[in-house]
């Protein structure tokens, strides 16, 4: 398959591994931002082939993982409403809130549906004018443009029974939060290729300069991952800190202008809680005032939510790169993909799920 096979080619991988081995002279700690990259490392068994000097820590780039537990509780409360069709990306359904997840809401009779595109939720609202269709708009800059298009489409088509529960987040403020943490160990970033496909990488230059941290925009196949690693290792060894593009077949400096325009039309920056990490200033997106009538939080009064996390889960430490999933005492014991304590064990992009699926020590 084109664009897949050549990037998973064993000989290319071995050649790049050899180059990486010969250029690394000391221990470096690299963070891959995106959960898709974490999964790729483990799914291909690439992490175990890396030179021992290179340590990977795994970043916060899993949209369902960082969605605050309070928003999940709010989703659960809204989805239980008799007049509501609650729509979401599939991963979100199994993420535990304080007491319940969305799958359990469905099992109790709630109308919870998986959609593959937010525009499908708008269509659902048109098809069911007597129901309230709510879409759970979560994710990074990757989902924001399509979610924005749903708001624009709902407005253009005059759909009044559609609303969005918004919990959008953005990558650059999280990178700054990680680098500013007194316990930070990250010395270089593999920036998230798909986020950069939308946003470009012009936002990253000031961060690289301010914290003197090299970055490479990196894709998701073994060859892509190795090229990104080679780029940052070269910089680390040379004492440089700039932003390079190791995923140029997809990403440009400026990104996708149309997508950015749609986002800017519908959303505006806001402070946002990150599950397990805490408040990061101006790290989120909320609906612009002119789209406020689509805000599900305003449309549905669910009363006071007393959100509570499992005290055992160390998701925040994992998402910040301070700890590995295998450092968690609950990993593979109390916490498994079928009964997750924390979101990283749930999602297809969650770090703990990746470790559980591909790497856990045998019971």
């Amino acid at each position: 398959m084109k664009y897949i096979d050549e990037y998973r080619d064993r000989e290319s991988v071995q050649r790049l591994l050899g180059a990486l081995r010969s250029s690394v002279t000391r221990h470096w700690t690299l963070m891959e931002i995106c959960g898709g990259q974490t999964h790729a490392f483990l799914r291909f068994g690439l992490d175990a082939l890396l030179p021992p000097e290179i340590e990977l820590v795994h970043g916060p780039g899993c949209p369902v993982c960082v969605t605050p537990v309070e928003q999940i509780d709010r989703a659960v409360a809204i989805a239980g409403g008799a007049e509501v069709i609650f729509t979401s990306f599939g991963d979100m359904l199994r993420v535990p809130g304080t007491r319940s997840d969305l799958f359990a809401v469905r099992a109790r009779g709630g109308d919870v549906r998986v959609v593959y595109s937010p525009l499908d939720a708008v269509k659902l609202a048109q098809d069911h004018p007597d129901r309230q269709v709510v879409f759970f708009a979560i994710g990074f800059e990757t989902t924001a443009p399509a979610n924005a298009m749903a708001a624009i489409a709902a407005r253009a088509r005059g759909v009044r029974n559609f609303s969005m529960l918004v919990s959008q987040v953005c990558v650059p403020p999280a990178m700054e939060a990680i680098l500013a943490s007194p316990r930070n160990r990250v010395q270089a970033f593999l920036a998230a290729g798909h986020v950069c496909a939308v946003m470009g990488y012009w936002q990253y230059h000031p961060i690289a300069a301010r914290f003197h941290v090299p970055m490479a925009v990196t894709g998701f196949e073994p060859v892509d991952l190795l090229r990104g690693m080679q780029a940052v290792v070269n910089q680390l060894e040379a004492g440089q800190a700039k932003v390079e593009n190791a995923y140029s077949r997809v990403v440009s400096e400026a990104g996708n202008r149309h997508a950015q325009e749609a986002m800017a039309k519908v959303f505006e920056p806001c402070d946002r809680q990150w599950r397990g990490i805490g408040m990061i200033p101006l790290s989120g997106l909320r609906l612009q005032p002119q789209f406020a009538d689509l805000d599900a939080e305003a449309r549905f009064d669910v009363g006071h939510l007393a959100a509570r996390e499992s005290s055992l889960c160390i998701a925040g430490e994992v998402l910040m790169g301070h700890k590995k999933p295998t450092d968690c005492p609950a990993f593979g014991r109390e916490c498994t993909p079928t009964s997750p304590l924390g979101a990283p064990m749930v999602s297809a992009e969650g770090t703990c799920a990746a470790y559980f699926r591909y790497q856990r020590p045998q019971e």
């Binding site: 398959m1 897949i4 998973r8 080619d9 064993r10 991988v13 071995q14 483990l42 799914r43 291909f44 068994g45 690439l46 992490d47 175990a48 082939l49 340590e55 199994r94 535990p96 007491r99 319940s100 799958f103 359990a104 469905r106 099992a107 109790r108 959609v115 593959y116 499908d120 073994p222 499992s310 005290s311 055992l312 700890k323 590995k324 295998t326 450092d327 968690c328 005492p329 609950a330 109390e334 498994t336 993909p337 079928t338 009964s339 304590l341 297809a348 559980f356 699926r357 591909y358 790497q359 856990r360 045998q362």
Partner: protein, 352 residues
């Protein structure tokens, strides 16, 4: 990988997460949740009435004869999908469950739950497919039942089939017989059924000319057994190849290593899996089997498979080893290694 010891500082006592108190769709996925439902609720509740072995069919001593006995309910949505329909699936599913324990399928029963309003034309075409599949497999439908429920109480049509087959003396197979040194054989490309059904679901909007592999495998199994010994057999249906091999490794107390490059996956299935984030190893098949065969016999068995209609693309995909019991690993295409596990929860809604 960090080897630093876990830091327990600051941890509180675990708060047990409230256990789910209801059935969720994932309990029907054929993976880990399905197994949990069986081992935690169904089997304990049945107590002494519960089956002692969990294979595709029960094998019962019946006078001097060994009788294989099994049942399977079919709830696939939509009823018609590229390459088949619920009728062909209902016959093949039960025939294959019998074949996987080494039985010669003899007779099936068919129980129909019909939703008020079901089109007679659709029902007729489904029954024709059942007849055709039964003829192909060499079984007859010995008894049946129909019930009709109010519109909304079922989704058009559910079919339960049960089946009996005879097992020749010394010919019973199970998932528990794999031995270190065995070669793992697969009868053809994986994932066709799951992706074909998915493509027929209108809400996904992708098109493919892929067809389900749904087929009766009893003639293939017979050809294999005539060519050489077969130590373990499974059809990788719900939960896919990964779940089937994990079950064999668990039941047999062996490890299994697979070679990613050797596992055939059609380009359309690969593309769909890449797009939707599925692992082809977890996607359902309805006309494939995986077998563990002694190394000295595998070439003969493989030749015999390739000479049959549903085994033309059979191949060797791995080996049984002496590693930790139950451990299934994949040697990846780039030379790395990763763990293979059962499907954890729900992946695709109602695919069989």
């Amino acid at each position: 990988m960090s080897q630093s010891p876990p830091d327990f500082q600051g941890y509180a006592c675990p708060v047990p997460f409230p256990p789910g108190d209801r059935v969720v769709l994932g309990h029907g996925s054929g993976g880990r949740l399905s197994r949990d439902l069986l081992t935690r609720l169904v089997l304990p509740a049945l107590g002494s009435a519960a089956p002692r072995h969990l294979d595709d069919s029960a094998v019962l001593q019946f006078g001097g004869e060994l009788l294989a006995f099994t049942t399977d309910s079919h709830v696939v949505s939509p009823l018609f999908f590229p390459g088949g329909n619920i009728g062909r699936l209902a016959v093949c599913g039960t025939v294959n469950d019998l074949a996987m324990v080494g039985a010669r399928p003899i007779a099936l029963t068919a129980g129909f739950v019909l939703e008020e309003g079901l089109d007679f034309g659709e029902l007729g075409r489904i029954l024709e497919s059942m007849a055709e599949a039964a003829r192909e497999a060499g079984v007859y439908i010995a008894a049946g039942d129909t019930k009709v429920v109010q519109r909304g109480s079922a989704d058009k049509l559910f079919i339960n089939t049960s089946g009996v087959g005879s097992v020749a003396p010394g010919q019973a197979v199970s998932g528990a017989g794999a031995k270190p040194g065995d070669v793992v054989l697969l009868s053809g490309p994986i994932g066709d059924h799951g992706i074909a059904v998915l493509s027929a679901r209108e809400d996904l909007g992708f098109e493919t000319d892929l067809a389900s592999d749904v087929a009766p495998l009893n003639h293939l199994v017979r050809a294999m057994r005539e060519a050489g010994p077969v130590n373990a057999l499974r059809d990788p249906t719900r939960g896919g190849l990964a779940t089937a091999l994990k079950e064999i490794a668990d039941q047999s107390g062996v490890s299994i290593e697979l070679h990613e490059k050797a596992i055939p996956v059609r380009p359309a299935v690969r593309a769909a899996c890449e797009l939707m984030g599925f692992d082809p190893l977890h996607v359902a098949n309805e006309g494939k089997l995986v077998a563990c065969v002694p190394a000295e016999a595998y070439e003969r068995v493989l030749q015999a498979m390739r000479a049959t209609r549903y085994g033309e693309e059979a191949c060797r995909i791995g080996e049984v080893g002496q590693g930790p019991p139950g451990r299934v690993t994949l040697r990846t295409a780039i030379g790395g290694t990763r763990l293979i596990d059962m499907l954890a929860g729900e992946m695709l809604p109602r695919i069989c």
